[in-house]
């Protein structure tokens, strides 16, 4: 039954506390577009995406209007392109990226994710070619996102891929140095990547997923923060309860929007990703939630504990609100996309080491972190390896999306603008990890991967 308080609460959440649906993402399988002729394959890719997703943006806009809740992004995720590239040896996979960009332009979506390869145990046909083409693909397209899975709890960490990805991240930054190094901001290196993630830049459509489905990613850090602000003296278990109740309400929005969009589009409903995804806007920060809990600044001692509680409570509250929970589900901590994180990093309170600790308890990993331009490829690889180890051992998804700011040094700012925000160049250790990285091979899977 409707009551005045509930109506006003919902409107306040949307109006003042930045509640929105962060994304509706259509996952499309491209397995039936595989062809030995790359031009024919690209044409099939374009046609399939446009056929499936042509109504995605108008339907999203219609739902936005009907329900009065903003849907910020309309996106598409596709089968990892390396699988299509495998059938066209000797061809430049960037053709696929261009076909995806054409499809993105026709459909009017914000991003297409899936210029990806899954190499956690080793490289198969097409993988190396695709990975090597990532810097060019991200350079010549605007709305294409790329990801590479280099490790998993089951298979260990492919250190050859880790080494290669350090070089690729660096090269991507160099190729796009004239555009604020935007290339690596569209590239994620995963351990334990999920196949139904609606969030960019790491979205791709896994091979175990249906032909076409619709995922929803919710948001709402501002709502959680202002809910907590009403209870300045509550104990932590009371705070956990408040977070759970708020997450429930946020997730119900996602469930409603997803169910409606999938019905309108005639596509099965995939999952709701229960993530607290911040934006650089005022009042939309995960760091500010942690500060509301009682930390003077995000990154200080206690941050990991506060984040662990937040992450867990978000899941507990959200899981009951949706029939299908999946994706990454948890609190995101992208530095450049979160006003509180930016402040904490500028103040020197939030360090790379603390962020690494935080990734052991949050939903993903080292995200949107700006590194000095002269950081070596081996150091980037070592950062990836550290992060992958956390994911592998803790059976969770971890990821690295770092941006070497070409020509910039510690303390300077890199400005992306828009949802990607801006970030200070954060210091890295000056001692070399090159010998460790250059050994290559594979870090074996941990003991607890043997569960059968």
């Amino acid at each position: 039954m409707l009551n005045v308080y509930n109506i006003l609460e919902t409107i306040r959440m949307i109006q003042d506390e930045c509640l929105d649906i962060r994304t509706i993402t259509m996952g499309i399988s491209l397995l039936d577009c595989i062809d030995t002729d790359i031009d024919r394959a690209c044409e099939k890719v374009y046609n399939k995406i446009v056929t499936k997703a042509q109504r995605l943006v108008p339907v999203g806009q219609q739902i936005e209007k009907e329900l009065g809740i903003p849907i910020i992004n309309k996106r598409i995720s596709v089968t990892p392109i390396a699988m299509l590239a495998a059938a066209c040896p000797g061809q430049n996979p960037v053709k696929f990226a261009k076909a995806l960009q054409r499809a993105a332009d026709t459909c009017g979506v914000n991003f297409i994710g899936g210029y990806s390869a899954l190499v956690h145990k080793g490289f198969s046909a097409g993988d190396i070619e695709l990975i090597r083409s990532i810097p060019e693909a991200l350079d010549v397209t605007q709305n294409i996102c790329s990801s590479v899975n280099i490790g998993s709890t089951k298979s260990g960490i492919n250190m050859d891929a880790v080494k290669l990805m350090g070089q690729i991240v660096k090269e991507s930054a160099e190729r796009t140095a004239d555009r604020d190094c935007i290339g690596p901001a569209k590239l994620v290196v995963f351990c334990n990547a999920v196949e139904d993630n609606p969030f960019m830049a790491g979205a791709f459509h896994g091979v175990g997923e249906p032909d076409c489905e619709l995922h929803v990613g919710v948001s709402g850090p501002g709502v959680v923060r202002s809910a907590l602000a009403k209870y300045p003296d509550a104990s932590l278990n009371e705070l956990a309860d408040i977070i759970k109740k708020t997450a429930f309400k946020i997730t119900r929005m996602g469930q409603l929007v997803g169910a409606r969009a999938s019905q309108e589009l005639g596509v099965p409903f995939g999952i709701v990703d229960l993530s607290l995804a911040p934006t650089p806007a005022v009042g939309d920060s995960v760091a500010h939630i942690l500060e509301e809990m009682g930390l003077e600044m995000c990154g200080t001692h206690g941050t990991t504990a506060a984040l662990a509680m937040l992450n867990d409570a978000v899941k507990k509250g959200g899981v009951m609100a949706s029939s299908n929970v999946g994706g990454l589900s948890g609190a995101f901590i992208p530095v450049s996309e979160d006003a509180g994180m930016i402040d904490a990093a500028v103040a020197g309170v939030l360090s790379l080491e603390k962020l690494e600790a935080m990734t052991a308890v949050c939903s993903v990993g080292l995200d949107m972190i700006v590194l000095p331009g002269e950081t070596s490829a081996e150091t980037i690889s070592a950062i990836i390896a550290d992060e992958a180890a956390i994911g592998m051992v803790n059976t969770k998804t971890t990821a690295v999306r770092v941006i070497p700011a070409i020509g910039k040094k510690e303390g300077e700012m890199l400005e992306f603008g828009g949802l990607l925000g801006s970030g200070p160049v954060m210091p890295v250790k000056d001692k070399s990890s090159a010998k460790f990285i250059n050994r290559g091979g594979r870090i074996p899977a941990p003991m607890h991967s043997l569960k059968n």
Binding site: I11, E66, K249, L256
Partner: protein, 89 residues
């Protein structure tokens, strides 16, 4: 199918008239109205039946929003599902 129209802002002459005028124009039956004026702040919540509206609901949403801008009020027109799903299990 019902929609909730909320109007919040500075009180002026004829707000209720203008909002319900748009409802009538779209054949949306007003089912319930709760309204209060505190000092000079006007707050109204209106529940309207939109199952037999004569034109597109999103067009009606746009009309309400532009009326709000005209009068300097915040007018939200939202399908009731959003409130029901958020606040009930």
């Amino acid at each position: 199918m019902r929609a909730v129209v909320t109007v919040i802002g500075k009180d002026t002459v004829g707000i209720l008239h203008k909002v319900s005028g748009i409802c009538a124009e779209y054949n949306a039956n007003v089912m319930e109205v709760t309204q209060s004026v505190l000092q000079d702040m006007f707050a109204m919540i209106m529940l309207v039946d939109i199952s037999a509206i004569s034109r597109d609901f999103s067009e009606m949403v746009d009309r309400m929003t532009s009326l709000g801008q005209e009068l300097g009020l915040s007018i939200h027109t939202m399908h009731e599902d959003i409130f029901n799903s958020m606040h009930s299990i």
